[in-house]
Symmetry: C2
Subunit: 367 residues, 2 copies
């Protein structure tokens, strides 16, 4: 069975203090339906990807909430830490393949900025292992451990990581929906306040509000989902043999390439999970875009044209769906100022925690 | 494609202060695998149903946690308030039908008693609407509104509701894994401390710890899942036309009967969602076991032989899976002292919130 993305939408990402989570869910859902030229009664199921709402806003049961708000027959929520959005897309594909629904609305949504940063940092640690939480580690701390190991092992410098942030801010400068749509330079990054050595403030993705949505269907569309794969690894870093690779990304992407019948070099455009600069470097390598230990030198492929998590923003449950929105927009020629030419095959890579979960989708456009 | 339950397991339900959520997940998962005579490497996917862990214990990302702990390739978590367990079973059926996995381990798990009751009552309100939370309502308050309307409309008395609690405690007295395995009488219930008029303490299900698991597969087994349906309604009561019916239950069960090719009267045994005594009465009616307004007089069908949520206990995410465990045990003749004779068709009914979500499964045994 072939599965297509019929329409997509992204809300602004940023500090959206005048919008509730429900507002964002509604805006994204209705936006994707409009883009797909489809009405609520033609949608069989709504799936919500969200990580934090129950914890920081008190609202669980978002599947029922979205079904009610959007007048869709049924719905449920999936959670896989920061990969909740990608997992929701995966679930949509599975639901259609199961044969009982034809058209699914997937919404990733998160409202984070109403709370203090410290509360959010603590809440986010729900994606890590109990031992890591008890040790007082934060996510930037965990990724800093990976970055230090990487730099020592392969000779990468802070400036190399900084290039990722500079690139993604540059991309975001062309994205009117980005949280941080301004260019920065290497000095901005390396001289920014240290958060967890070697990662400074500008090595980190921000805390954002936002939502994104996609209408996914077995009815013919211009973009096909040719592979949808998930994989897992240990929650905690200390259970892993290596700190410089994400096995879950490697496994999910290998299966996805096989399913799509393509190789990494066939990917024309990708959105990867750059929650920290080091994460994008690891993604290049684990997705097979370059060899292990070489990613910090940069690659010759357009990655994170949205601005990535770094500069477009990272409302955690929304991110995995936003990545789909971005790639689909390019494949359909609807990406505005940042449109790239002749993109036919796109990859989307969403990570939960430090790689406890990875979700990889491959999309084919210009159909 | 036919789908079967290959094995089931329930941990003790109760105040399990010496066990962590991970302990419960492990015990239930390994127990179901042993019952199914299957090993971890034969399982393709683990799905966790859980509502509160992120909120009250800080641990999200339970799919990855379970996959790691049980050495299963991949996993994710679904949440649909108190229907999270039933939703996880539904997802397992969908995943197998989608064709990419053959055998799925479903685990419902919840750890609630480490926190103060007030904190838990607040956390549970995540299943309700924002307006209900802001109004200071609790779940017993919401169900009390339904009970008052029901009593006024149909002439039911507190004693009628109390019969449900007495029956379920009697059943639980035969269930060694029940939270409250002692018989009570009508007086115990009607003279118990009032929580929200007309519902007293013994009209309410308890706050429990516990887990349950089931191995679900397309490989032939002795119990077949012949229908798996979900439905939604508004989160909040005030958006509904009637307080004395759960539309989501009605819709899900009608679809399930149709899918299974049976009628309500063909059901030999059922586990229904009796979070409060009134809820079991409504379930009788909404599932078609009797006419609307007649449920309080009791029905002639074995319901909640486990003791129900009322007396077996209600670790929220575990409940929907435990209901499957109970019915499967009877259909396989493995229900010990409370085994009923000649049960061939069983129904399982799991509700999220006040009916924002309903999940109905129909199982056929003696195959």
């Amino acid at each position: 069975m072939k599965i297509f993305v019929k329409g997509v939408y992204q809300t602004n990402f940023g500090e959206l203090w005048d919008k509730s989570l429900k507002d964002l869910i509604l805006e994204a859902g209705l936006g994707a339906m409009k883009n797909a030229k489809i009405k609520a009664n033609e949608i069989d199921l709504v799936i919500i990807g969200n990580k934090l709402s129950g914890k920081i806003d008190g609202q669980d049961h978002l599947g029922a909430l979205a079904a009610e708000a959007l007048k869709i027959k049924k719905g449920f929520r999936v959670e896989a830490a920061c990969a909740s959005g990608g997992m929701a897309v995966y679930q949509a594909v599975q639901a259609i393949k199961a044969g009982e629904v034809k058209t699914v609305l997937v919404i990733g949504a998160e409202k984070m900025t109403d709370k203090k940063n410290g509360e959010i940092a603590k809440a986010l640690m729900g994606a890590a292992s109990e031992e890591e939480r008890r040790s007082g580690l934060s996510f930037v701390g965990l990724y800093a451990l990976m970055a230090r190991e990487y730099m020592e092992k392969f000779g990468a410098k802070k400036e190399d990581l900084a290039e990722i942030a500079v690139k993604n801010h540059k991309h975001a400068s062309l994205n009117p929906k980005a949280h941080f749509p301004r260019e920065i330079n290497i000095n901005t990054v390396v001289s920014s306040g240290m958060v967890a050595e070697p990662l400074g403030l500008f090595d980190c993705s921000p805390i954002s509000d936002g939502a994104a949505a996609a209408v996914i269907s077995n009815k013919k569309g211009r973009v096909e989902i040719v592979a949808s794969e998930i994989s897992n690894d240990s929650l905690g870093l200390c259970e892993r043999k290596s700190l410089v690779e994400l096995k879950a990304t490697q496994k999910a992407s290998l299966r996805a390439y096989k399913k799509a019948g393509i190789k990494a070099e066939d990917i024309d455009i990708a959105e990867v999970h750059d929650c920290f600069t080091i994460a994008e470097v690891l993604a290049y390598e684990d997705l097979g875009f370059c060899k292990k230990g070489k990613g910090y030198k940069g690659i010759n492929k357009p990655v994170n044209l949205s601005g990535g998590l770094k500069a477009c923003g990272h409302p955690v449950g929304a991110t995995g769906v936003k990545q789909i929105v971005e790639v689909v927009s390019h494949l359909k020629g609807e990406a505005g100022k940042r449109q790239i030419k002749k993109a036919k095959i796109g990859l989307v890579h969403n990570v939960g925690g430090t790689g406890g979960t990875a979700v990889v989708h491959i999309l084919k456009g210009n159909l």
